[in-house]
Amino acid sequence: MNAPLPASTTYAKSLNAALLEMMREDERIYFLGEDILDPYGGAFKISKGLSSAFPDRVITTPISEAGFTGLATGMALRGLRPIVEIMFGDFLAIAADQIINHMAKFVTMYGRDLEVPVVVRTPMGGGRGYGATHSQSLEKIFLGTPNLTVVAPSHAHDPGQLLRNAVALGRPVLFIEHKMLYPETLLASGGALMIEPLTDEPFPTMLMKNFSRGAADVLIVAYGGMSRLLAPLARQMAEEEINLAIALPALLSPMTVAPLLPLAAQCGRVLLVEEGTTGFDWGAEVAAQLYAATYKTLKAPIARLASRAEIIPTSTAGENAMLVGAADIESKILELLA
């Protein structure tokens, strides 16, 4: 299901190419969202070329996130396979009722399983100075919603392939793309880094290691845009001979830590990192599950890093101080090893 990573393509190009291919192969696929038509091609250009190739199946929508998300659900219930783009992940809050009380409910609310093949993709995350309402990582609000699969590929994944797998799932998928990953070249093994899938699933966990001999000193578990901070940090720490095993799950919800357990038990030191605000977060669930399964072998309390529970400032200094950064991760690793 997961083809080998294409050589040196970017996160954005991988998604764009997958969309073009899927729409060529399957006439049931429709693409909906705001400002997605050529020549503009979407706010982050992920839909570039789509409307020229498939003018009938690329539908530019009014600024009605709840409306066109619900529209996609209706299309999916009647045999089509819509992919929805929400221009900024922050706007998912507008569509939340349609996702939680409609799209996800229809899957099992009627006493039997209904196919509801909708993928809602959206860019999350800060780093671009867009301020409080265009920079958040709101996916944690949706984690744990029954019947809703939440996927967030890092750039150690092949995001295009994961998007194909999301469309093939036949159930509602919230597909989270960190906007800072779009221009990044997809990671491949090389230099100090070795990257391999830890699981063979539609939404696999990728394992990134900065050592070839010995055992990991720390297991880091993180997702999505955090790979952008972790890859250079892992290279840097390889020179310092600190062995890092970095697990990057793409599947945020529903979630099981089972694939992580051997690594966690082996090194006994675990750090969870996410960009969302701290408190009631993804890391809390991962920590709870990991702790229940590995408490006898832990050498230190499970450490967690997230961004401050504050609004995201627009200024560079303010945003940098508020969001979790590479320096925060580095000091936490050193703390764990102290």
């Binding site: 429709y30 009938d56 539908i59 929508t61 009014p62 009605s64 709840a66 409306g67 066109f68 998300t69 619900g70 529209l71 996609a72 659900t73 209706g74 299309m75 999916a76 219930l77 009647r78 045999g79 089509l80 819509p82 009722d97 349609q98 009380n101 409609h102 409910k105 229809f106 099992t108 609310m109 009627y110 006493g111 039997r112 209904l114």
Partner: protein
């Protein structure tokens, strides 16, 4: 009255009495403690589901319903037994007792309990049917209260923008739960779709023949590439919003009861036949409920 009109009216009368009898029985079951949760009945509004659904093609057209949806289900061809079993939480119900009163799906029938929430979903279904070239029309039933929800306006806009085959069937009963229309809506409620260019027909929603005729015309227009249509049907809910607790003046309700769809239809029919029909349907529904209760006791 000509023969065809008489045939229509007798069929509609039977359907309306079935709806009324099922709804009344549900309220009784609630009072007996045999239903949990809630039920929203459409007592006094029976003409709208009956007249509108009679204008639809089973198997091709689609109905999206709301919290007050039992009448829509029965009028669209759903059977009383699995509906009542569903609302009683019985595994033999249409959705195995999981959906309950407000969450029912069977074939081309879909209901959900979030007011106005089905407007964009129904609009998406209409888009799908149009793109598939099925010729199907979607009917979304919604109340006057739901017109205050933003997604309804979003759906009106998209349906008109893309000229989709959908009929928004508004059942305007004058109240949003306990709040009268005048305390909830500014402007002319029946004109809500007009700025989008959607044709609107306002009519007496208690006249089942008028509802049917208007629905035939609207569904025909939607099917014939005329784009979305709105029927704004004035009616009055004779029962409580849900299972009790009705703050309205009983004299007001009694006044409206005289103008309800069933007595109105009855005036054009043979009273003896009507009495026989009433008794027959009452016995059928009672037998259904007795059957479900007996099976439940036997299973215990």
């Amino acid at each position: 009255m000509d023969a065809k009109r008489n045939d229509l009216l007798t069929g509609f009368y039977e359907k309306m009495v079935l709806i009324n009898t099922v709804e009344s029985s549900l309220l009784n079951l609630f009072a007996e403690g045999l239903l949990r949760g809630t039920v929203h009945t459409c007592l006094g509004q029976e003409a709208i589901p009956t007249g509108v659904c009679a204008a639809l093609e089973p198997g091709r057209d689609i109905v999206c319903s709301n919290h007050r949806g039992h009448g829509h289900f029965l009028a669209f061809g759903g059977e009383a037994r699995p509906l009542i079993a569903e609302i009683m939480g019985d595994a033999s119900g249409v959705c195995r007792g999981i959906g309950g009163s407000q969450h029912i799906q069977l074939g081309n029938f879909y209901s959900n309990g979030i007011l106005g929430g089905m407007s964009p979903v129904a609009t998406g279904m209409a888009l799908a049917e149009k793109r598939k070239g099925s010729g199907g029309v979607v009917v979304q039933f919604l109340g006057d209260g739901a017109l205050a929800e933003g997604v309804v306006s979003e759906a009106f806009n998209m349906a008109a923008l893309w000229s989709l085959p959908i009929l928004f069937a508004v059942e305007s009963n004058g109240f949003a739960q306990s709040t009268p229309t005048a305390l909830e809506h500014a402007g002319k409620l029946s004109a809500r779709g007009a700025p989008y260019g959607i044709p609107i027909t306002e009519l007496d929603g208690n006249d089942v023949l008028a509802v049917h005729a208007a629905a035939q015309e609207a569904v025909g227009a939607a099917r014939g590439a005329g784009g979305p249509q709105i029927l704004f049907m004035n009616t009055y809910r004779l029962g409580p919003h849900s299972k009790g607790d009705d703050p309205r003046d009983p004299a007001e309700i009694a006044r409206h009861a005289e103008q309800a769809p069933i007595p109105r239809a009855r005036a054009g029919l043979d009273p003896e036949w009507c009495d026989t029909t009433d008794h027959r349907i009452a016995a059928e529904v009672a037998a259904i409920i007795q059957g479900i209760r007996s099976a439940r006791i036997a299973a215990q």
